[in-house]
Amino acid sequence: MSIPLSWYLILAAALFCIGLFGVLSRKNAIAILLGIELMLNAVNINLVAFWRYQDPVKMTGQVFAIIVFAVAAAEVAVGLALIISVYRRRKTVIADEIDLMKW
C-alpha cells in the first residue's frame, strides 16, 4: 500500500466540498439530498481510511461506516418521503419555494 493517507483525506475533502456546493446551490430538494449523500460518502472514506491506516485490528472505523450507511438509508427514505409528500400538496420540489417557515 504505497498510497499516503493524505491522498484519501484530500479526496474526501474535495468530495465533501463538492457535496456541500451541491447542497447549497441546487434548486431541487432531491438534488440537495444527492449532495448530502456525497458528503456522507466523503465522511465514510475518511472513516475507512483511518481504520486502514491506524490499526486494522480495531474495527471502529468500519463499524462507524456501517452505521453511517444505516443512517444514510434512513435519511434518504424519510427525506424522499417528505419531498414526495410536499410535492403532492404544494406541487413543487424547489427548496426555495417551500418557505412556510418564513419570518
Binding site: K27, A31, L34, L38, Q62, I84, V93, D96
Partner: protein, 170 residues
Amino acid sequence: MTADRIIFLLTAGVILGSAIMVVVTRKLIHAALWLVAALFGVAILYGILQAGFLAVVQVVVYIGAIAILFIFAVMLTRKETLEKGTQTRPNWWLPGILGLIILIGLIILITGHIDFNRTAEQIPTNIDTLRLLGVALVSPDAFVLPFEIASVLLLAALVGAVFVASGKKE
C-alpha cells in the same frame, strides 16, 4: 508510480468527475446516475483499502437501494424536473466560493500534518478483518448496542417513510 497509485488516481478522477456532474448537471435523473457512478468509485476505494465488505455493502445499499429510491423520487416528481431553465439557484457562486475556501483550508491542514503522509502497513495475513468486523458488530464488548439501535432507526425510518409518503387515506 506504482500500480495501486494509478488505480487510486483513476478512481479518484472518476469519483470527483462524477461528483461534479452530480451537482452541475441539469437533468436530475442524470444527476442520480452520476451519483451512482461516484458511489461506485467510492466502493472501489473501499476495495483498495481492503474493506471488501464495505465495498459490497456500498454497492448493495447505495446503488441497489438509495439510488433506485432517488430515481423513483425523480420520476414521481417528473413535471418539476422536466421544467426548462437553470437547475441552480441564482447565487450559486457564493457556495462555490465557500466550498473552495473550505477545500483549500482542509488541504492546507491535511498536507501540513506530518502524520498524514505515511503509508499503511500490510494487514498481517493471519488477521481476518471480515471476521473481526462480524464479531465487533455483535459482541457485547464492542458495538452490539449501536448496531441494534441502528436497526431500530431503520425500522422507524421505514415506518415513517411509508406513513409520510402514503398520504391521506380517505
